[in-house]
């Protein structure tokens, strides 16, 4: 086991952190952030974030009191920015689970520097996402109709509806993400507890750490529990975006009714999530000076991931066109050629699909931009990757916009066509969710260890002792066996 954990130097693998890094270095580097005064950069982000959060609450209050008519949604575009934002935020969250769970199962040790961070992002992104479906019901105080509890109408939820699946998927995802995140935090909260110098810190972190004392009898259960969480989160994260895509794929709207949607959505989710992790990571890294823990090597690996998922997304875009042509369905091909690419005859109002430009924005940002990551220079240049990740996030938002709004506003009958224009509340609410997200996120990095201290320590070269001691013969034999089979 341990032999497999060591980097295979023959193929160029190295330890992620310098050999001389001590355990205490890691503790210091991470815990110090929560113990010292916030740097100026933190305040420069925090104050605008809280103000943006205020914007969100204002828009939300207006929406709830006035009704969804304050949005630009109108027939046939009954879903617009609300669901676009929902799908986008959910997708962002998926990167966190991917990093914490899937990379854990694949034994990608480099994840330890970013997984805590990404998991927090998941939780906050899912909170932002869950807000939109809750609000778009129009009367959020009746949202409990969605829950399988008796209500005054005497009927139960319809479990055959993909929207109902969505309720279960998103809530399960949020719950499991929070639990997974918290379980991962327990040892690090104990570290903060043991370092705390003031009474309140000791009380609060002590309460949250649940009395963790690093006992190996606990570590044994803990490690297995962590593995189980990773194992259930992996299919969960795939299921959540698949189910989100079912909201569209199970309907008959041209542009939605496609079997490629589940994998296409999942790849897009991972893609956009990685991009946002990168954007935030680059900011935090420079504000808090975490260059030793989040190295260029980490960023390089992340960029490769984005290149890979970007290619998958590009492939899905291409396949949509192929299927539109191959299916020989006139509505389908019309949507893609006319509505998205802007080719063909003008419509009755004398224009192409008025939102054709959004498709080009999407392809440009999602397919062309990540191609720069073929070059090592771009993968290792912080300014270039910062701009690229922001463009990718914009592109992924447009992807959802294209799928939802451009498909809806031109469907079967030209008589029922419509247009969509966002209102101030639409825009304010979307921007406001950044306020919610960033406020939570900035509070997180100030008060909670943003890097998994215990996990990073376990990746240090001297973490598991030298091998060949007589402390454990069986174990050594196992190691030799592994080494032999690897050769």
């Amino acid at each position: 086991m341990s032999a497999l954990d060591a980097p295979i130097e023959e193929i160029g693998e190295r330890y992620l952190l310098p050999k001389e890094t001590t355990f205490n270095d890691v503790t210091e580097a991470v815990a110090r952030i929560t113990e010292t005064k916030a740097p100026r950069g933190w305040w420069m982000l925090f104050i605008p974030s809280v103000m943006t959060l205020g914007l969100m609450l204002t828009c939300m209050g207006w929406l709830v009191t006035q009704g969804v008519g304050t949005w630009g949604n109108n027939g046939p575009v009954y879903w617009a920015w609300d669901i676009t934002n929902f799908v986008w935020w959910i997708g962002i969250g998926h990167a966190g689970t991917l990093i914490s769970a899937i990379l854990f199962l694949f034994r990608q040790k480099w994840r330890t520097s970013i997984n805590r961070f990404a998991e927090a992002m998941t939780v906050f992104a899912v909170l932002c996402a869950a807000m939109f479906p809750a609000l778009h019901t129009g009367r959020p105080w009746f949202d409990y109709y969605l829950a399988p509890i008796p209500n005054q109408m005497g009927i139960w939820p319809n479990f055959k509806s993909p929207l109902m699946w969505d309720v279960f998927a998103v809530n399960t995802y949020l719950t499991i993400s929070v639990i997974f995140w918290f379980v991962g935090l327990i040892p690090d909260l104990a570290t903060l507890r043991d370092r705390s110098t003031t009474k309140y810190r000791r009380m609060i972190y002590g309460f949250l750490a649940l009395g963790w004392r690093g006992s190996h009898r606990h570590w044994q259960h803990y490690e297995r529990a962590y593995l189980i969480f990773a194992a259930i989160s992996t299919p969960l994260v795939l299921s959540v975006h698949s189910i989100v895509s079912f909201d569209f794929a199970t309907s008959v709207i041209p542009g939605w009714h496609t079997t490629i949607f589940p994998p296409y959505f999942v790849a897009g989710a991972v893609f956009s999530g990685f991009a946002l992790v990168m954007t935030l990571m680059l900011i935090v890294r420079s504000i808090f000076g975490m260059h030793n823990l989040v190295t260029i090597k980490h960023l390089d690996l992340m960029n490769k991931f984005m290149l890979g998922t970007g290619l998958m997304v590009g492939y899905a875009y291409a396949m949509e066109f192929f299927v539109a042509w191959y299916s020989n369905n006139p509505y389908e091909s019309w949507v893609f050629l006319h509505n998205r690419l802007g080719f063909g005859e003008l419509d009755s109002q004398g224009n192409w699909g008025p939102l054709w430009w959004s498709y080009y924005a999407m392809v440009g940002c999602n397919v062309l931009v990540p191609q720069i990551f073929w070059f090592k220079k771009c993968r290792t240049s912080v300014p270039i990757m910062f701009i690229a990740t922001i463009l990718i996030n914009i592109g992924m938002w447009f992807e959802r916009f294209v799928i939802i709004v451009t498909s809806l506003h031109r469907d079967f009958l030209p008589s029922s066509w419509g247009d969509f224009e966002p209102t101030g509340i639409d825009i304010g609410l979307y921007i406001g969710t950044f306020g919610l997200f960033m406020t939570l996120f900035l509070l997180f990095i100030r008060w909670i260890p943003m890097i998994a201290i215990a996990e990073v320590k376990a990746t240090l070269p001297h973490a598991h002792g030298s091998h060949g001691d007589d402390h454990n013969h069986e174990h050594d034999h196992e190691d030799h066996a592994h080494a032999a089979s690897a050769e």
Partner: protein, 406 residues
Amino acid sequence: MSDDHNSDDQDNGESSPPKDRMKRTLVGMGVVGADDKPEKPMRDKKTLVGMVQQKASDAASAAKDAAEDAADAVGDAAKEAKDKAGDALNTIREAAASAKDSAGDAVDSAVDSAKDAAESAKDTAGDVADAIKGKASDAASAVKDTADKLTDSAKAAVAGGAGAGAAAAVTKKSGKKSSKTKKSSSKSASKSSSSSKKAASSHAAHEATPSHGHDDHDPAALDSDPNTRPALYLAEYETPDALLQAAAAVRDAKYSKWDCHTPYAIHGMDDAMGLPPTKIGLISFVCGMVGLATAVLMIQYMNNWDYPIIVGGKPTGVGAFPSMVPIMFELTVLLTGFGTLGGLFHLCQLPRHYHPIFESTRFERATDDRFFLSIQVEDDKFDLERTQELLESTHPSYLELVEEKL
């Protein structure tokens, strides 16, 4: 008995090297005599005799305390002898003489107080008093024996100038015997007996068999501070390697109530500690299956049996299976997650915000960069001296007997 000398010991202990600290801890426990005041037993005797006259049950503990005082007085004498022996050769003779004197006094007073106590106990409750009398005289003879040994050792000190070591050895030995009693008491006493020290000590007295001979000191006499008791040995190591080797050694010594404390999970530690595989997977699996069943039953009940919702002529029973799959999956995952969290808490017995191990300030580094091994007093094989020897053989960078507040 007195709080002042104990607190002194603790203060000094912080800065001393491990071995010294160890000795001081033993001093703190009363195993090695500390510089107590010789007139103490007299005062305590009076007050305790007063207590004895109140109730029969009190009488038992009073007799015990009296014996304990006697033992203390002996310990004090030993300490005094030891101190004096450490001085210049000229004063050694005087020291030995005074030690002899004070030891003799102590024995006398111990016998007196024990007899008083036994008599008063007899007055108030006949049968109980008989038993107590036996114990008290046992205690007295134990005290006498120890005093004799001390006298011998004091003589030895006069002869060879090495009295200090000998006295320490004798007192250590008696401490070791008493620790056995201590262990049996802590085993028999219920876990929640922290408040009722008297209960624990009377247990020990009743359990004491003739084979134990003069082990009948009140185990509480081990503690110089009546508000603490030994909870565990804590050994600190600098490297994971050292801890792995120490863990293997403790495993091979067949201890059961011990643990390793590390800032992160060390691979290979399961084997080094000889832990069986964890059962948490089973809990998760069962909970997951409960989730699956819940989903099937819930959907069937709500959409088929109680209020069938027929949309677009689609089936509601088994034929609706494909539409049930997503929620079946989600609820399986959700309950697996709850089960895993609950299983983790259950198996680890968390949250548990207090543990005696937190009494050690060194232990704060267990979540930073040090590796600890702890052996609890509750372990069947625990023995103050032998466990200490075992841990010392693993070359810890620091060794401490952590005491728990009662």
